[in-house]
Amino acid sequence: MLMRLVKFSPWAIVAALALSAVWLVQYVVAEAAQPLPIAVFEPGEDRPGGAATSDKALDRNAFSHSSANMPFERELDFKIGNGFFKRIWGSAPSSTQAADGLGPIFNAKACQRCHLKDGRGHPPAGNYPDDTAVSMFLRLSIPPQTEEDRRLLAEGRVNVIKEPTYGGQLQDFSVAGVPAEGRMHIEYEEIPVTLADGETVSLRAPTYSATDLGYGPMDEDVMLSPRIAPQMIGLGLLELIPEAAIRAQADPDDADGDGISGRPNEVWSHKHERLALGRFGWKAGAPSIDEQTQSAFNGDIGISVPLFPDAYGDCTAAQDPCRAAPSGATERYANLEAHGQIVDLVRFYSQNLAVPARRNPKDPQVLAGKKLFADAGCAACHTPRWTTAASAENPWLGEQTIWPYTDLLLHDMGEGLADNRPEGRANGREWRTAPLWGIGLTEAVNGHTNFLHDGRARSLLEAILWHGGEAEPSREAVRAMTTEEREALLAFLNSL
């Protein structure tokens, strides 16, 4: 009978298959855990940069596109800014007066050399000479030595007291005839961490030192802080989050008792000669994209700019051969190596690198991860949503609802992440909440998944497990998650 049915009625087969499929589904559902509860999809969260969000291809150029709503007539400025961002600076003197002035000591010859593909830098794969692909460096400072030092710090006129010989950072390259300052040396120690589901994750704990010193020993109290080049997307939007809104979220003494403080950094604006809210850099040490850009030109490449007009960059008075090296400044260009117009174009470019659209924000696993992110308390510091203020400079970036997942405030991140080097109001355990937008595209853009201020984390999970201090309860919540929950959380982060 069955044979005949099979033979003569194909529909019977279909029906039988359908029945067994239903049975299979019921069986599987009965065996599986309940589906994870999900958060609702919020309109707009799929476009983290608001109307400036980029819809271009998600390949390795994904971070290099301009704000989607930037007026066409600014395309020229954006492209020229990109040209300067990529441009390799040469050493002075050269035949190209408008294009020289590198160093004398420097970390890179071009912005793009560390901000690779406008994305994130990474630690070297080995110590010198095994690897010279450096897109990070060491900041240097010492504790205050004099009353004057203490006054400058107290008034916020300086963020740090620089190391007396080597200055504010270790430049590992130099032009011909001038010694380089030295090399960053990293030793890693693996520390296993066990999660609730039994999985073990190994965290690598770095120790930093400076070797091959070109100008004699450093001060014995020197404090080192490693810094990876951060991704460049969405900076113009972060700059437009209203200061009052950021300050409103601060809770320096944890008055609400939720274990999360959140302090604004207060740093010196060289442009306005007053204290200002710190927004940019791993410890929010720079008040604006303009000042961050100019300080990077001067400190990282050794180029004099309007705000930092010393052609010798970060060379100190104790570095004679460095201070005596030829300058690339000429009268023709305002006695600067990069005059105001160049700096303005690079700033404009940096303000308008677009945040890509999210890929799968409505995926049930992603929405489950979103709920877990909130429930674990991550969103207490990684504030999902803001509205930007109106902007005269870049009107199209103004009044946008954006989803950067940061509060731009400083938080105690515990001993494990501490660099023990204060910067402005940030103490040695505090770091600025890093924006999470675009984080899931790091691998596509940069070919790696190194995170945190020094790239020690080799995956998002490692980065989470490094969180301590105020973030410890959140980290423990993640550690206690089931495998399925953890995968959902990571799926959410990777969807950003």
């Binding site: 066409f72 395309e75 990109n82 294009a99 010859k109 095994d130 010279t132």
Partner: protein, 420 residues
């Protein structure tokens, strides 16, 4: 589409409705011509690249001044149709995603071959491939990772070396890599003269600068790869190809691609990154074809390429004509005449740069600091492109249906205000 603006939205709406006064053609036939011309240009680029391949073979078989000169001539000839295709960038996603392999620029040529250290510098910095010199090194050992470069082939160039370490200046493939191998570095700064690589660099018997066999292999591999890349893109524009379908199946978006390409090439790319930047820096390295000193023609044929999209008429290197209804046929008379004049004006200003080069004053001489006359000629060409961009915007606005505005272009009305 590279940049969104009201301009493009207006156009899409207008095109979708088939609106616009004094219409002498339908959008469907205009985008058909647009696709036909793309196919003809890429086909010509392919054929001239194949001709280059033959001259490269001849050079490697018998390296001497004559065979080298013939290969260089073939490279220049190959640039003629290719530069005219660049107007298809920015508007067509398929072209954009592919283009970086064939025309990436500028490059750190020390990755490929020997360089003059006093000119190029040997300072290492974050680009560890800055002086990697693949031709001289069969193995590249960098940070525990070894790249086996014993065989120089397409896979080594495109999969291992191109943009290695995420550094865009590590250009291993395309026209400019080939250009560097044929000419060598231009060590003349802002003085006349291009790169002067000797033919003996490819001579296995009397080899100069070492590794002539590998240098030949590199040149061969890069040329073959260029040919296969051009074969691929040509197929995309042939009947049934994806790039063709994207514009022909939806004439409204085809028109958007057309105007986006013209606008973005005129403005950000050519006027901005390729010309204004170099003029601000007065840097001879900031010219598009820096080894061969062929920049004047690269810019000239970019301008010609934009004009032939507008008119719907392209003349190939062999004189073959591809034509049909063009953008001009969709426009009201005033806008049509204004854009036609602007495009002619740009071509004329690029012709000035060509004439200067022919008179012994190539592009890198014109942008020298203190060369007021040369600087002014480049600046005039930039201004002509800005004027042209404005005319493109107005043409787009003219195609709009009533009530749809385009975003203001005050800065273009006042070119001095563009550089804020």
């Amino acid at each position: 589409m590279n940049k969104r603006s009201g301009l493009m939205t207006a156009l899409a709406v207008a095109a979708a409705l088939g609106a616009g006064p004094a219409v002498a053609a339908e959008p469907a036939s205009v985008v058909e011509t647009y696709a036909d011309i793309a196919h003809a240009k890429y086909q010509d680029s392919l054929e001239t690249a194949r001709a280059l391949g033959e001259k490269v073979d001849a050079l490697l078989a018998e390296p001497n001044a004559l065979t080298l000169a013939a290969a260089r001539e073939a490279w220049r000839a190959a640039r003629v149709p290719y530069q005219q295709t660049e107007v298809y960038r920015f508007g067509n996603v398929i072209v954009d995603e592919w283009e970086g392999k064939v025309n990436a620029w500028p490059l750190d040529e020390g990755m490929i071959d020997y360089v003059a250290r006093d000119f190029y510098g040997d300072m290492s910095d974050a680009n560890r491939y800055y002086t990697a010199n693949v031709i001289a090194n069969e193995q590249l050992q960098l940070s525990g990772r070894t790249i086996d470069a014993s065989v120089i082939d397409a896979s080594l160039l495109q999969d291992e070396l191109h943009e290695v370490d995420g550094i865009e200046a590590n250009v291993a493939t395309g026209y400019h890599a080939i250009e560097f191998l044929l000419w060598g570095q231009d060590l003349n700064g802002v003085e006349p003269g291009a790169g002067a690589r000797p033919a003996t660099d490819f001579d296995l018997e009397n080899c100069t600068h070492g590794h002539c066999d590998r240098r030949g292999e590199y040149l061969e591999a890069a040329t073959d790869l260029l040919i296969s890349d051009l074969e691929w893109i040509t197929a995309q524009w042939a009947e049934g190809g994806e790039a063709r379908a994207a514009v022909v199946d939806d004439p409204a978006s085809g028109l958007v691609a057309m105007l986006t390409g013209m606008g973005s090439l005129s403005y950000g790319e050519l006027a901005g990154e390729r010309m204004k930047l170099g003029l601000m820096l007065h840097d001879p390295e900031e010219e598009h074809d820096c080894f061969s000193d062929n920049t004047h023609y690269s810019h000239y044929y970019n301008a010609v390429g934009m004009r032939n999209v507008f008119h719907g008429r392209y003349v190939g290197p062999d004189g073959a004509v591809t034509e049909g209804p063009g953008l001009a046929d969709l426009l009201p008379e005033a806008e049509r005449n204004a854009l036609a004049a602007a495009l002619d004006n740009s071509v004329a200003h690029m012709q000035v740069l060509v004439d200067e080069a022919m008179a012994g004053r190539p592009y890198d001489v014109l942008l020298a600091p203190g060369n007021a006359d040369g600087n002014a000629k480049i600046d005039a060409a930039v201004t002509s492109l800005l004027t042209q961009t404005k005319a493109i915007e107005r043409a787009a606005a003219a195609l709009q249906v009533e009530g749809v505005g385009i975003e203001g272009s005050d800065s273009l009305d006042d070119p001095a205000a563009v550089m804020q």
